[in-house]
Amino acid sequence: MVLGKYLDIMTVKTTDKTLQKYSQDGGIVSSLLIHALETGVIEGAIVAMPTDEPWNPEPYVATTPEEIIAAAGTKYVLCPLNNALKIAARENGLDKIGMVGMHCLTYAVRKMQLYPFGARHLPNKMALLLGIFCTENFSYTGIKAIVEELHKVNIEHVQKMDVSKGKMIVTSNMGERVEVPVKLTHSYVQPGCYICPDLTARTADISTGSIGSPDGWSTVMPRTKVGKDLFQSAVDMGLFETKPIDPGKFGMEMLTRLAQNKWDRSEKTRAERAEIGLPNPF
């Protein structure tokens, strides 16, 4: 239940050397978006594009593989991608839109498709939703404070951020690697994340994330026919190397445990809110 419905689950990495260099883990999202773009499944995708302010991306409608590669890599910061949905459908003239996002974003898109108030002509233009595993997220000032106060690295010098095995790892452009226990970052988490029950973006067409797979690989869960067909065609074209997911402690077990933890945290938060009379969204 905590992982939602999925048609398949496996450990995957891209075979594209360029993408391996730029991507966070297995290069799944970038590869799938480029593949979807090139096969006409989508005409463009809404991605979090870096801006002049380091690690503070903005929603961007990418319509070329180069733009998708430019937006590759995880940014641990809130980015309201849904804001760009209308921009994609209206002035960009896209009839088949792809989007990538965590549960909060994919869930919002599915709700919008069911009740399209204020979103005329949008629901049927959503062609592909890629979900990313997420335990929690930060505001820009939050992530800046974490990196600069805890890791003691100027955010302008950060080359890559990663969360792995209970550590938040920052690699600077000088090659310096600083690790901080994820626990310490909890006070910076934006409060909305505590109510979110979903680690694996259960409403996406394909969900992916590093949890459950070794370094350099990603766990991939095609959930819908659209997602499965797209993923299968990418595999058939040799874009991905796949292997069955490890059922053990660092594979399926860990994924399920972390998803269950998030689910429990949400239930606890909702109970606390109900107790003091605050409304709950679900």
Partner: protein, 415 residues
């Protein structure tokens, strides 16, 4: 729903409300014993909506958003006229690409309104109950197909098909992508094909109809500011005046019921709309109500060609919005947009970024006295047909509060 009343007492025929027109309007016709209208009165009974009053004191950016809500059929025309009026008042000129996109949205507005009007007048030409079902269905599909294409253009260019938020003071909020332009160009070709078929169909209906060719004839002049968009320089400042309806209509009772003003040029009513545009800019010479419909059908071709040219001219990476340096010094600004039904004029004064005066003279305001006159000389059974051929939009055209010199409201219509 309103119960339509047609009463005939002492040679006075009242039709209230008129049907298949936008908003609520009434006809009071004085006829002779043969039923020929000797004195026609066509006026708005849509309750006063107060846009011109509640805008006072509001930020200037609110004006195009609010006035867009005057009407769901011509929201783009109102937005355009409104931003032009404010821009004229504060002295801002949008960049070229901003104006191209704005004109494109305004053209698309007309491209959706004309087919909708076709649907409203189908029954007047026998195209409805008893008509060949397949032909009727095809015509409806064509009209709705054309409207869909036109609304999509506004979606892309203006940000929303209705009440486009991207039409802003200083230009347009966004440019469009190359892909969007290519798609619009393709859709215009489909529109042109549908429009040609629909024009042939409507011309056939007009030809086969039994209406007299001189139906709805009048001797008044026409007024149009531009063929496709609008030109504030064309406004007849010297000869224009706006009167209260009390004295203009045939009886005080009618005048007091009317919720519209009377706009005159040189003391006479004028006709605005597609025929006025065709006469002014295309050398069109036909007169009468049926000529208006012919001009309306032909105008669709003109609009499509202009839209195609605008898309070709557009630089998709050009700047579309000019920053507003000034915040207004209470200068009177005017914006004119040629709506589907005629010249839509907005006037505004802006001081320190806030509206201090606002006035709308919408197409049907111009046309009320003209329509009233055009009905005269024909049998009263044609009156509603003539009204519909003018394609009036009554809900836009209702506005009046009469103040005495002490600013006390002495006439406050159904607010």
């Amino acid at each position: 729903m309103h119960q339509k009343e047609v009463t005939s007492l002492a040679n006075v025929v009242e039709i209230s409300p008129c049907t298949r027109v936008e908003g609520h309007a009434k006809l009071v016709l004085e006829t002779n014993d043969d039923g020929i209208v000797e004195k026609g009165n066509y006026f708005s009974i849509t309750p006063v909506r107060n846009f011109e009053k509640f805008l006072i004191g509001k930020p200037m950016e609110f004006a195009p958003l609010a006035t867009s809500r005057i009407c769901g059929i011509c929201p783009i025309s109102h937005s355009c006229a409104s931003v032009e009026a404010v821009e004229d008042s504060i002295g801002v000129e949008p960049p070229k690409d901003g104006m191209i996109l704005r004109e494109l949205a305004a053209i698309a507005n007309k491209m959706h309104s004309h087919p909708l009007h076709n649907i409203l007048i189908f029954p007047d030409f026998g195209c409805g109950v008893g008509f060949d079902k397949n032909v009727y269905t095809d015509a409806m599909k064509r009209c709705q197909g054309m409207r869909k294409i036109a609304q999509n253009i506004i979606d892309v260019v203006g940000g929303e098909g209705l009440h486009a938020p991207d039409i802003v003071i200083g230009g347009m909020e966004h440019n469009i992508s190359d892909l969007a332009r290519a798609k619009l160009q393709m859709s215009l070709r489909t529109y042109e094909q549908l429009s040609n078929e629909q024009t042939d169909f409507m011309m056939g209906l007009i030809k086969d109809s039994d209406y007299p060719s001189d139906m709805g004839l009048h001797d008044y002049d026409v007024f149009a500011s531009d063929l496709t968009y609008g030109d504030r320089e064309a406004f007849p400042w010297e000869t224009f005046n706006e009167e209260q309806p009390n004295n203009w209509y045939s009886s005080l009772e009618v005048g007091q019921e009317a919720n519209n003003t009377i706009c005159l040029v040189g003391g006479e009513p004028v006709e605005v709309g597609p025929r006025a545009r065709a006469v002014t800019f295309k050398g069109f010479t036909e007169k009468g109500a049926l000529a208006i419909q012919k001009a309306r059908q032909r105008e669709q071709g003109t609009l499509v060609h202009r839209a195609e040219n605008l898309l070709d001219e557009l630089n998709t990476s050009g700047v579309t919005k000019e920053a507003c340096a000034g915040r207004g010094d209470n200068e009177l600004g005017i914006g004119i947009n040629e709506a589907a039904r005629g010249s839509n004029v907005h006037m505004a004064r802006v001081k320190d970024g806030r509206i201090t005066y606002y006035n709308c003279i919408v197409p049907t305001t111009w046309n009320y006295p003209t329509i009233s006159k055009a009905i005269e000389g024909d049998h009263y059974k044609f009156a509603e047909v003539i009204v519909r051929l003018y394609d009036p939009c009554n809900s836009c055209a209702t506005h009046m509060i009469v103040l005495d010199p002490e600013k006390a409201i002495i006439q406050n219509k159904m607010i």
